[in-house]
């Protein structure tokens, strides 16, 4: 069974992001970039499926600038067998990413596409659903447990009310939630080995995909900042403040 894993290069989750000098975009100069945490979980799940003898090949794919090769190498070090960079210089939206992934899917014919449920920069939570829609296949979003069966896959999903388990026909697109697994760290020998693994570069034009944006970012701003309030001395003062100052309890 072949697994395609889509990964995104994003600002590391520990970085405190700011608007750039003219507030037209996020300041991305000299900030640490990483694999989107949800995508790391997707890679880990693919590697576990390979370790269980269910998956035979793992292909990591990203759509982005040439710098995204760095994140693909990370995926190779974590256990992907080969990688594909679909190179573009413009920031691509989920719709365009899904179209590129569809083109790669058609060439590779994987049984499962694993991806993150959301990228922690755009927080869109769209790409997997869009890809499944374009492929006309089933989707298992926000997965906290997956188990592959003959021709189908059972996916437990984290939903607002609790957990829901679906049975999906293969091929299917699975998007990962945080509790699906805990990703491993790449070992030094594996990081060295990853340098030798194949990494192909394609372009959106070559794949016949129109990636021109449908939306325009007009600006970014900081949200209204909350001021720190006061420290109360004890529980009695806290209750008094909540009753008589904030008037939120009676």
């Amino acid at each position: 069974m072949k697994i395609l894993v889509a990964v995104k290069r994003v600002v590391d989750y520990n970085v405190k992001v700011r608007p750039n000098s003219d507030s037209s975009d996020v300041e991305l100069a000299n900030v640490k970039m990483s694999v989107n945490p949800f995508c790391e979980i997707a890679v880990e799940e693919a590697v576990r499926l390979k370790e269980k003898g269910i998956a035979t090949e793992i292909i990591a794919v990203t759509i982005g600038t040439v710098q995204s090769q760095e994140q693909l190498r990370t995926c190779l070090a974590l256990g992907a067998d080969r990688a594909i960079l679909v190179e573009t210089d413009i920031p691509v939206e989920p719709l365009a990413v899904a179209k590129c992934l569809k083109a790669v899917y058609e060439e590779e014919q994987p049984d499962i596409v694993l991806m993150g449920k959301q990228a922690i920069d755009g927080d869109n939570n769209q790409t997997g659903q869009m890809l499944a829609s374009m492929l006309g296949c089933a989707q298992g979003t926000f997965a906290s447990e997956v188990s592959v069966e003959e021709g189908s896959i059972a996916v437990t999903r984290e939903i607002d009310g609790g957990l829901q388990t679906l049975s999906l026909k293969l091929p299917a697109v699975i998007t990962t939630d945080l509790r699906l697994n805990e990703p491993r760290y790449a070992s030094l020998p594996n990081i060295m080995k990853a340098k030798q693994k194949p990494l192909a570069t394609r372009s959106a034009e070559e794949l016949g995909v129109d990636v021109s944006p449908r939306t325009q970012l007009l600006g970014v701003e900081l949200p209204a900042q909350r001021q720190a309030g006061i420290k109360v001395n004890d529980v009695a003062q806290l209750v008094d403040k909540l009753k008589n100052e904030a008037k939120v309890i009676s």
Partner: protein, 309 residues
Amino acid sequence: MSILVIAEHNNQQLNPATLSALAAAVELGGDIDLMVAGSGCQAAIDQASQIACITKVIAADHSACEHFLAENIAPLIADNASGYTHILAAATTTAKNIMPRVAALLDVQAISDISAVISENTFKRPIYAGNLIATVQSNDAVKVITVRATAFDAVEATGGSATVETLESVNDMGISSFASEQLAESDRPELTAASIVVSGGRGMASGDNFDLLYRIADKLGAAVGASRAAVDAEFVPNDMQVGQTGKIVAPDLYIAVGISGAIQHLAGMKESKVIVAINKDEEAPIFSIADYGLVADLFTALPELESKL
């Protein structure tokens, strides 16, 4: 302009988040229709028809809509989308699952989780866990949008009498099926709708200790939430997680107990009106956004708080 809002419901009752999505639709202006797709959902259809701001309810009561499978519902929405300039739903896990699939069928870029309407094609939405707010303009003919419910005040649930149009043909795509679910049952208010939320973090140290919070919650009529660390440690189930990847809440009062205040947690609660933090570490980042901070051991502070309420 003509707007289609997709109702969220459990076949019996509309989810109040839908009333907030309708509020965003009212800000956009124009005629508003509300689609209720479900199975055995007459009660939800009846409720929907009483909402004053809508023109028409579009009802699909069909077994293929049971459990709201995206594979079946998305084509139903897309097939009935013609004539609408905007398709909206509250940003619940159900809509997050379905709406991008609708957008792809219509070949448009969806706009997720809007927190403000600037004009018919321009919206504000939080990015980077709410650390920044982006203003985005859509150039697509149809705007497919999910709405952050806490950012819009609910419209009136009654006072209207909309006509109901019934859709007969719903396809079961046959590629996905429901197997089982484990839904949280609680007598306490729903987290996203409660006016008071009491949340516990890793500092609670065990699931049993959450009883300290439940007792306070019951005195206040509050819902109980948790940080990711508390959910990961299996103190409490996932549906209680507040944050970037959990629920977004904005109650009148949010009490964070044994929670450090990581940005991913703040993303889910920093729009609360009044924030209280109880933490034994006076340097904990949660204090920088708390209106009232109490530096104390929660195991002494919580029983005392309970007794004083």
